[in-house]
Point group: C2
Chain length 164, copies 2
């Protein structure tokens, strides 16, 4: 049923699908709603450690031990520069990250401290069971396919000519 609606949308691009059908086939709305449903199950783990979700994303982005600069963190974590400045200050004051020298002194590079790595490990461990529940309910193979498609969609979309 849904697929047929989508087909109609695709094969007749001049037709504007309306109402619930249109809403269900909206890409950005579907991404938002899927994120809301899944995020709700993980948020408590960040709450328990007094981390905002953007702060938690920054820790995760740094979790392989590689130092990253502010610009890269903004992109990977989907955070605007002014927000990231505040977030890095807060994480630094908690001793979770520390500055790393960089040849280009304009770049503000940071890496996890041992304490930050420990907090990351603790949070990942705590949230694993929830992730397994979702994987199991949705299907592990399908989840893997979904992640591949989401990453590919992002790369493909970012590669389109600018529409400014």
């Amino acid at each position: 049923m849904k697929t047929e609606s989508a087909q109609a949308f695709q094969t007749d691009p001049e037709a504007i699908p309306s109402g619930k059908e249109y809403y269900e086939r909206s890409l950005t709305v579907a991404l938002l709603r899927a994120r809301e449903s899944t995020m709700r199950r993980f948020k408590k783990y960040a709450d328990q450690e007094d981390l905002s979700l953007p702060q938690w994303r920054v820790l995760r982005a740094l979790a392989d031990g590689e130092a990253l600069d502010a610009g890269t963190l903004c992109q990977r974590c989907v955070i605007l520069p002014p927000s990231l400045t505040r977030i890095l200050r807060a994480l630094s004051e908690r001793g979770l990250i520390m500055p790393v020298e960089c040849a280009d002194a304009r770049r503000h590079m940071v890496t996890l401290t041992d304490s930050g790595q420990a907090l990351f490990d603790k949070l990942v461990g705590a949230s694993q069971e929830t992730r397994r529940e979702i994987d199991h309910a949705f299907g592990e193979e399908k989840m893997s396919l979904l992640l591949d498609m989401l990453n590919e969609l992002r790369i493909v979309t970012d590669g389109l000519p600018s529409n400014d």
Copy 2:
């Protein structure tokens, strides 16, 4: 490559994948980044009409002409009740929505005005070309599959037992 990493994650659930691998396989991050990349291309259409993205979602949710109550709009549009109150007031002041009487007087039901429907049609028309570009670059069949998977993920996740 990505798929192999995912397989390793799935077949050995006790192993905590670390660093970039972990970050790329995070479901909520992948959803956020995919949304950011695609949304960026649509945002200008809402901006042109001085609509915030949540306001635009409300118009879209109402676009089949069916009146909806505030609670339903909160769920479908992923907006908290206090935000929705302000949004409905703003849309009402612009003459885009109007109240609809309801047997249960506690329920605040609204529907699009003709002006609201006209604005919806205008915005959908304006954004269609961008949507087609993304569909074409990503693949129409794959896009349809992705939308089905996103909606299914949401339904499956909402159906899991509460983890409060």
